[in-house]
């Protein structure tokens, strides 16, 4: 008993807060970018749509380390963009918390984008037509009519995005590294402590991750099932 209390007192909770902050910021970024991209892609012609959709979905299909490789290539201080950002604005992405956010956002983005797109595709187009004939501006009808009508799909996309961003490992470890208290996320901490044989600490984090994941899945089910009371048990 005492051993557990002792362990809890000295326990380094920083990975939890780093992961949480990263997840929230990445989700906010993906929420707007994903909805924006979904809206734009739906307006493209069929060929351009297939191509752009492919590029936007790529991070979901690729191994995260491959995405991390490209991100490193882009933001390394020895590369034009990375050097420019650091030289001009003093912004450093590699080995910083910003790197965590960018890695998580890139990996989680397709979940938001694809869910938003699917939700938009199912909207009754007459709702949009009606809003237009009534004189509602396209921007207003998008936020007041389309987004609420696509609500459940967007909500579950948002939760999935958060879940993915929270647990991101591969790209984050390459771009941001595992600096304790700065970029050390839960996933990276688990890998690190297991590598050093500290299974007890690893188990604590695994349980935390499991609880979060379970909570998220239940949240999605409640969001998706809340609207329709239709009986479809069989």
């Amino acid at each position: 008993m005492n051993a557990i209390l002792e362990m809890a007192a000295g326990f380094d909770w920083s990975p939890f807060w780093i992961s949480l902050k990263t997840g929230i910021v990445a989700t906010v970024i993906c929420f707007f970018l994903g909805i924006f991209a979904a809206r734009k892609v739906l307006r493209l012609g069929p060929k351009a749509r297939a191509a752009v959709d492919g590029i936007l979905t790529l991070p979901m299909v690729l191994a995260p380390t491959v995405a991390g490789f490209f991100l490193l290539l882009l933001f390394s201080l020895r590369r034009p963009l990375g050097a420019f950002l650091y030289g001009t604005f003093g912004i450093k992405v590699v080995q910083t918390w910003l790197g965590c956010i960018i890695a998580a956002s890139v990996i989680a983005f397709p979940l938001m984008y694809r869910n938003a797109r699917a939700a938009f595709e199912q909207i009754d187009i007459d709702l949009v037509y009606a809003a237009r004939t009534l004189g509602m501006s396209d921007l207003k009808l998008f936020w007041k009519v389309v987004v609420p009508a696509a609500g459940p799909g967007i909500a579950s996309g948002t939760v999935l995005t958060f879940a993915r961003a929270l647990g991101e490992y591969g790209a984050t470890s390459m771009l941001a590294g595992n600096i304790a208290g700065v970029t050390g996320t839960i996933s990276q901490r688990i890998a690190y402590v297991i590598k050093n044989g500290d299974y007890a600490t690893g188990a604590v984090w695994v349980v935390i991750m499991l609880l979060i994941a379970l909570g998220i899945i239940i949240a999605i089910n409640l969001l998706a099932g809340g609207r329709s009371r239709r009986q479809n048990r069989w």
Partner: protein, 351 residues
């Protein structure tokens, strides 16, 4: 108070190519589904764009491909009633109607609500203003949609199959609401439907659509009394139609294998089709010029009448002629005999 439309749009299977104008009246677009009626309304509203042509509402050009004018739907002042009403599901009745005040620009929230409540009263929605669309009956949803449209003070009303989502009882009730709305409305109203009875009760003028073009454009009573084409006859409720041709002083109805004296009363001297009104047959003697000898194939009891399916006696044709007769009278019809119709009920039609 008028509408002028002259547009063309390629729709893949066929080309929408229509030209018409209407004054302050109700113009019905009557036709089978998928013949371009709704597309015409959508082009007028500006949510679909014609390939070329011109549209004027109350003399105001809203679309002109030659002059590169294409007003946004927001600027066209069109009141569009959608088949499924297209109420915003996340807004209450009052908020939906307030969305109709969008074009009036900024105003304080309570002023907006006060104005919306006038339409709530007018369409007898009082007490329902804070409900969401999924808590309303079909009729209440339609009232809300009408209130929202009227709040937007449109120049023209476009009603796209307004009753098709309602059951029979509600249909009649809502037709009265729509009729009252149209009667008070100071501009043109256009009604898309495939129900001839709705057309007859609600409209003044009818445009019969066929494969994307207007087959006949005529005043309602004239169209129903004297349809000129096979499509117009069918859509106005003529149930017996057959390809036909003239041979000397005889008219031959090819599908039914019958012939009778060519009715010289009509203005069509070389018809491609003939139509016989199902409820105007009468028993007659052999010497009636429009008589043919029949045999009854089936006697089908309908709600308020009997439907006799007849054909020329001895013929093996499967194209039966439909004769609708009062229930009390059908027992008087023998299994074979001679039948004819008043000459004005024999419709001589072009293709």
């Amino acid at each position: 108070m008028s509408i002028y439309v002259d547009i063309r749009k390629n729709l893949g299977d066929f080309t929408l190519d229509v030209k018409f104008e209407a004054e302050q009246e109700t113009l019905a677009l009557l036709g089978d589904s998928g013949c371009g009626k709704s597309m015409t309304l959508k082009c007028i509203a500006g949510v679909m764009r014609p390939d070329e042509g011109e549209i004027r509402i109350n003399g105001r050009t809203v679309f002109d491909s030659a002059k590169k004018i294409d007003l946004k739907p927001q600027q066209r002042r069109v009141g569009y009633l959608f088949q499924n009403y297209a109420l915003f599901p996340n807004m209450t009745v009052a908020e939906n109607i307030m969305a109709g005040l969008e074009r009036k620009g900024r105003m304080p929230k309570d002023e907006r609500r006060r104005q919306a409540m006038q339409y709530v009263e007018r369409l007898q929605l009082a007490g329902l203003e804070d409900r969401y669309p999924n808590e309303l009956s079909g009729g209440q949803q339609q009232r809300t949609a009408l209130a929202r449209i009227l709040a937007s003070e449109p120049d023209i009303l476009l009603l796209d199959e307004p009753f098709s989502a309602l059951d029979a009882t509600l249909r009649w009730e809502m037709e009265q609401v729509v009729r009252a709305t149209i009667a008070e409305f100071p501009g043109t109203a256009m009604l898309v439907t495939h129900d001839r009875d709705e057309v007859y009760r609600l409209s003044d003028t009818v445009a019969v659509y066929k494969d994307g073009h207007i087959d006949v454009l005529d005043e309602k009573w004239h169209l129903f009394a004297h349809p000129q084409t096979a499509t117009a006859a069918r859509l106005s409720g003529c149930k017996n139609l057959s390809p036909a041709h003239r041979e000397g002083d005889r008219l031959i109805a090819d599908d039914w294998d019958i012939s009778f004296a060519f009715p010289e009363s009509g203005d069509n001297a070389d018809p491609a089709w003939v139509g016989l009104r199902a409820h105007r047959f009468r028993l007659c003697g052999q010497d009636d010029p429009y008589a043919f000898e029949f045999e009854v194939v089936n006697r089908i009891e309908d709600t308020f009448s009997f439907i006799l399916q007849i054909r020329k006696k001895g013929s093996q044709t499967e194209r039966l002629i439909r004769w609708e007769i009062e229930k009390a009278l059908h027992v008087d019809v023998p299994d074979t005999g001679y039948v004819s119709l008043p000459v004005e009920e024999i419709l001589l039609l072009r293709e």
